[in-house]
Subunit: 251 residues, 2 copies
Amino acid sequence: MTRIIAVANQKGGVGKTTTVINLGASLAVNDRDVLIIDLDPQANATSGLGREQGGLEGMNALMEGRKSLSETVIRTDVEGLDLVPGSTDMAGLEIELASQEKREFFLDSALKGHVEKYSYVLIDCPPSLGLLTVNALVAADSVLLPVQSEYFALEGLSHLLQTISRVRSAWNRRLLLFGVVMTMYDSRLKLSREVFEEARAHLGKALFRTTIPRNVKLSEAPSFGKPVILYDPFSKGAGSYLSLAKEVMER
Amino acid sequence: MTRIIAVANQKGGVGKTTTVINLGASLAVNDRDVLIIDLDPQANATSGLGREQGGLEGMNALMEGRKSLSETVIRTDVEGLDLVPGSTDMAGLEIELASQEKREFFLDSALKGHVEKYSYVLIDCPPSLGLLTVNALVAADSVLLPVQSEYFALEGLSHLLQTISRVRSAWNRRLLLFGVVMTMYDSRLKLSREVFEEARAHLGKALFRTTIPRNVKLSEAPSFGKPVILYDPFSKGAGSYLSLAKEVMER
Ligand SMILES: Nc1ncnc2c1ncn2[C@@H]1O[C@H](COP(=O)(O)OP(=O)(O)OP(=O)(O)O)[C@@H](O)[C@H]1O
Ligand SMILES: Nc1ncnc2c1ncn2[C@@H]1O[C@H](COP(=O)(O)OP(=O)(O)OP(=O)(O)O)[C@@H](O)[C@H]1O
Ligand SMILES: [Mg+2]
Ligand SMILES: [Mg+2]
């Protein structure tokens, strides 16, 4: 049974792309077949995996139904980890889709029936609650929320949870909150500890036990086009995403 | 002569809001009259200044022409610093405006002729290149780009500069690049130093001399609803935004 997980948060820079790349790679090294879909016009998941953007024949063609999934999927440097590359051309897709019927279902119909061979599909979302993120929430069966250990990131959480329940009742009955993972956690900072306590009080079991520490290896790895597990497998960053992968496989 | 500056970058979490709040406050303590416009549906600049969201009668009413600027402007805790509060209701504005004529000019017509009393207007943009950011680039005479000292932030810069020149030739001939400021700079990290060198090589004089260091006081201040100059005036964060304000006043 394929699990389709949208990794979303309208707050920018909270670790969505870093989580998609490194959770994806950690699941793949645990012998799972994983597909990453780069739905962000910045295409950071694509460059972070060392691949070129897909241009108009990549994600745009998939969303517009001009190409099938198997025609747009490519391999990465990690065995068992595939990718549908993103592209800056997708910035125009939101305005183009806005006027069409069934505009929330383009990604859902592109994936349906084509992802059986994967155990996990991870969708990297842009930092907004616009049509691309809505498409991800409609195509997914669950949502994983990275939350940075900072004040502004916590503030946006209730708005994000409301949007998820709105999408569930309007278009996707099966959409679940898979879990929330704290990112860039620095146990030396009072702010980090306070935000973590607040999140735990609000979210309880929905919060993953694993927290991702602030670790420079995680921000260096994308400049080499590699997930951290290939760049520095013994780093705290690599260890934390392996432990997150274990929790994801248990749920 | 009022200077209207859009603070923009589609990359999330690079310090747009932190720059708008703290540059705004630093200019105000230097006896300039400053207006902050919160054009981000997350409304972080609004909560970071300790104010409630504007709801449908705030930014939405201004953009739709239902209210004038003077009916939506409020004071902040800083003498000489005013604010047009943002609201999560703005998330729907982008799709609503998309089908209208002159959709790029709503903010420009709301501001024209109403901001003479201010020496600076700072517009906080959402992390995207959608219609809200385009409205800011059309209404502004210059753009200030915060760039985080990280790989992904540098990657998106050329795409952002292309968008700015497209807006200039299509809708706003007077739009200038006011400058680029490096944020969250940590001189102990090789990555920070490398990204800074790369930015300096590409941008030359467009790069402000002032860099904003990573400083926990900057991320604590918003949880108290205060700019850092009121929260901890002797911190490195407060000092760096005062020095950026001096550079802005000189240009
Ligand atoms: N745990 C971490 N420790 C250190 N740096 C990190 C960590 N997680 C992410 N980063 C860095 O922080 C920045 C923001 O992370 P990332 O780009 O993954 O966030 P995002 O939510 O995908 O951003 P956007 O909203 O722009 O899509 C990146 O430069 C990344 O390399
Ligand atoms: N120089 C700094 N030192 C430490 N923390 C910082 C600094 N600048 C910003 N921050 C913190 O980093 C986070 C991201 O900054 P901010 O929210 O200002 O970025 P943004 O570009 O406005 O994000 P978005 O793309 O979501 O609008 C915030 O939690 C903020 O408090
Ligand atoms: Mg991202
Ligand atoms: Mg912001």
